[in-house]
């Protein structure tokens, strides 16, 4: 039986997941340099061992109300094609193992999210985990770039 692993994290009260194959590492929040004229959801850039990476505030990206960072706030570094991007999340909880049966294809609308951001819905012990499609989330949003 095919099994996939997901890094589960929290945004507000909802649980989300990213395929573990895309996750490079998880960092505590560090100094973020603001980038003027960047889209609003781009929090800025960070230094990850000598490379400069953009950091996206995932809550702003997905139209949540953004909150201040806490001790639990983490930056999940994901690798999309050859680019690394940091995603700010409220807390990282665990690594989930999901079988294909536990993953349902994405419905058209989940909590107001565009379907293209969602890869599917995972069901574990009665919990629902929204599995995100990082490639479309991190894609350059050309319309928002005009500063």
């Amino acid at each position: 039986m095919d099994e996939q692993q997901f890094v589960a994290f929290r945004l507000g009260s909802e649980e989300y997941g990213i395929s573990i194959l895309q996750v490079q590492e998880i960092k505590r929040i560090t100094d973020i340099t603001r980038v003027p004229h960047a889209p609003a959801y781009v929090q800025g850039v960070i230094n990850l061992r000598g490379s400069v990476l953009p950091v996206i505030d995932l809550k702003t990206r997905l139209n949540f109300v953004s909150q201040d960072y806490t001790d639990d706030t983490r930056i999940v570094i994901v690798k999309i094609e050859e680019y690394s991007v940091g995603m700010i999340v409220d807390a990282v909880s665990e690594v989930l193992r999901l079988t294909d049966e536990q993953i349902e294809p994405s419905p058209d609308f989940v909590g107001g999210l565009d379907a293209e951001y969602i890869q599917g819905i995972g069901k574990v012990d009665g919990r629902l985990v929204i599995l995100l499609n990082m490639t479309s989330i991190a894609m350059i949003d050309t319309t928002a770039k005009v500063g």
């Binding site: 340099t33 603001r34 980038v35 003027p36 004229h37 230094n47 990476l53 500063g147």
Partner: protein
């Protein structure tokens, strides 16, 4: 043999040689009397032949071989350089290019080279020379079949040597030594075989050349031409004694000693000179040395994978960041010893950086080189007369940019010739010289390289641009009417726009200028157009020197630190708020009697808290780009520092006002300002 590992090298070198050939043959066409060019052409063709034969690309080898025959005849004056010969040579190059590119695509395209080869042979044989040198050719023709059995091609010098040896009663053998295919140290085995052969006689020639064999630039076998007193069996035995030698084939070389009767006196002289050498086999090596030396000078390079250079540059970047860090520790903790040591280290890292940068930089001439040929062909196809002027080919650009800039330039040049330059008749009618001029100019300007394509043709008519844009449904009539002429000319960069009334295969396939613009912008550059009707057009490409380590001035705006490339900075000044004046609602200052517009950086960059708004003393950084100057208002000046430009990735690549990012000594990321955009 597994040739795949050599494939990259083969492709690079083949393309290089093809380019040399193109350039040289063009030069030959212009100055047929310059025989040195023929030598260079010959050398390139020869190398190409050797390489392709080794790699098993027989079509390429065959064409180059036939080319070589003709070139040799040209060189020796047996043929005169005529336009038909030059055309045929160019045709050969086209075929070779196609073959090489087909290999690059992974296939081995089967082009029909038979006709071309026949044509070449016709030139070599069928069209005998009109002049009196015909006799010589006959002599050559006689010599040819005699050597037909032998794989190695003898030149006159070798032939004299062979003849001399035979006259002295020595045997001359062509020995083909094959190294077993699993041999790891081919060069070492070859050396042992050489040593053994050298002991037994006198090595006249090797194929490939000795230096190439030493570098292991041969497949499994090499050929040695040996003059010796020993018998064939003895030689075979001696060579086979060396381990990992798979096979030795020995063939006697017969050169008809009587053929060059007309030059016996000369020949005798040669053999006399040779005579003492035969007693000392080493003398031969000495004699060969200067020739090889000369060759090495021409090509003393190492090919390195660009990724390795990227890694190296990154590491040097890290080193610089850490050095800056140490520097800061030294000054914060007041450690004079440390500061002194770092100063010494500083010099080393600076040199290191310069070297690494230089290694990555390639003169743009590499790209420009292929254009004269292209223009010549185009001009011919379109029956236009064009003079291409190239300036600044020594301007250096990062290798990655060089690789990408070729296609956009081809497009611009093709457009200039196809749409820009008029036919000679039209030009004369317009009162212009019949020969049109296309200029390709490159120069460094601060942190960017500017490449201009300028033609003195008919220019771009803004009204026609407007009409076409409406006709093609790209813009509405109202939109185009609002545009001034400059904007209208810029319509050329819109996707789906092509001005050619009828599509030619030269340009105007509808994927022209918007692709050019996209490509250049993807490299972080800009392209502008300036055009005057009947005077011509000028396309200006501005490209950054990417991946560089630059000197920058660090400034603060509120809590944030930014870097301004030092190369754009004219000076820094401190003014009082009362010195700020306004002209037409724009803030300006007067500096040495010049009016300089002021840019409040904090506002431009949306910085929240800033002190400079209220302070009476203001720091102004005067920046300059080309002729334009501006003053950037900043909070404080931190200091000058060298910074490593890091890309911000695809997501933030094209962001306004920011040219890149850098990592400071404390690990923080600071953004590098794009001075050009901020000035506008």
């Amino acid at each position: 043999m597994d040739v795949n590992q050599y494939m990259g090298m083969f492709m690079d070198e083949s393309r290089e040689h093809l380019q040399t050939l193109n350039r040289c043959i063009l030069e030959l066409e212009a100055t047929p009397e310059k025989l040195q060019i023929l030598d260079e052409i010959f050398r390139s063709a020869h190398t190409l032949k050797g390489m392709s034969a080794t790699m098993g690309f027989h079509d390429i080898a065959e064409i180059t071989h036939e080319m070589e025959n003709i070139l040799d005849m040209l060189r020796k004056g047996k043929l005169a350089v005529t336009s038909s010969i030059v055309d045929t040579l160019f045709k050969c190059l086209d075929f070779l290019e196609q073959l090489v590119e087909a290999i690059a695509q992974g296939g081995s395209a089967k082009l029909d080279i038979a006709e071309l080869v026949a044509q070449l042979r016709n030139i070599a044989v069928g069209k005998p020379v009109e002049s009196s040198i015909a006799q010589l050719e006959v002599a050559a023709a006689i010599a040819q079949p005699l050597e037909a059995d032998n794989a190695c091609v003898l030149n006159d010098f070798d032939r004299n040597n062979v003849a001399a040896a035979i006259q002295q009663g020595m045997h001359v053998f062509e020995i083909t030594v094959t190294v077993s295919s699993d041999c790891l140290l081919k060069a070492a085995r070859a050396y042992l075989a050489f040593a053994a052969l050298d002991d037994m006689g006198n090595i006249i020639k090797t194929v490939p050349e000795t230096t190439e064999i030493e570098k292991e630039n041969f497949e499994d076998s090499f050929i040695v031409l040996l003059a010796t007193d020993h018998e064939a069996e003895q030689i075979e035995h001696a060579v086979l004694n060396i381990s990992e030698i798979a096979q030795v084939v020995i063939k006697p070389v017969l050169v008809q000693v009587n053929v060059p009767t007309s030059v016996t006196s000369e020949d005798a002289a040669v053999s006399k000179v040779e005579a003492p050498k035969d007693t000392n086999p080493n003398a031969e090596a000495c004699e060969l040395a200067p020739v090889q030396h000369q060759k090495n000078k021409v090509n003393h390079t190492v090919r390195v994978d660009i990724e390795k250079l990227d890694d190296l540059l990154n590491l040097v970047g890290e080193l610089v960041i850490n050095k800056t860090r140490l520097d800061q520790i030294g000054s914060t903790h007041n450690l004079p010893d440390l500061v002194e040591t770092i100063e010494a280290m500083d010099r080393v890292t600076t040199d290191l950086q310069n070297v690494v940068m230089k290694v990555r930089m390639v003169p743009i001439g590499q790209v420009f080189n292929r254009f004269p040929r292209m223009i010549r062909d185009l001009a011919r196809d379109l029956s236009k007369e064009i003079n291409l002027v190239i300036q600044g080919e020594e301007t250096e650009l990062d290798r990655t940019v060089i690789d990408e800039i070729g296609d956009p330039l081809v497009h611009l040049l093709r457009n200039a010739i196809d749409h820009g330059i008029e036919s000679p008749q039209e030009r004369i009618a317009a009162g212009k010289p019949s020969i049109g001029e296309v200029k390709l100019v490159a120069r460094q300007e601060g942190n960017s390289v500017v490449i201009e394509v300028i033609d003195n043709g008919k220019g771009i008519n803004p009204d026609i641009m407007r009409d076409k844009a409406v006709e093609k449904g790209l813009l509405s009539r109202a939109e185009v009417d609002r545009m001034d002429n400059n904007e209208a000319v810029r319509i050329i960069f819109l996707p789906g726009f092509s001005t050619a009334a009828k599509l030619t295969d030269v340009s105007g396939r509808g994927v022209g200028m918007d692709v050019v613009r996209a490509k250049i912008e993807s490299l972080g550059g800009t392209v502008e157009v300036d055009s005057r009707i009947d005077q011509g057009s000028r396309f200006t490409i501005r490209l950054p020197l990417t991946l560089a380590i630059i000197q920058a001035l660090l400034i603060t705006l509120g809590e944030e630190k930014y870097a301004i490339p030092l190369s754009t900075i004219d000076s820094t000044i401190r003014i009082t708020a009362s010195e700020l004046k306004t002209i037409q609602n724009r803030e300006v200052i007067l500096l040495r009697d010049n009016v300089i517009p002021i840019v409040r950086l904090a506002r431009e960059l949306q910085v929240q808290q800033t002190v400079s708004e209220e302070e009476d003393e203001l720091y102004i950084v005067i920046v300059q780009m080309g002729e334009k100057r501006a003053g950037f208002m900043v909070d404080t000046l931190v200091g000058q520092q060298e910074v490593v430009i890091k890309s911000m990735g695809k997501l933030l690549g094209g962001i306004r006002c920011i040219a890149g990012a850098t990592i400071l000594g404390d690990g923080q990321v600071a953004l590098i300002l794009d001075v050009g955009t901020l000035m506008q």
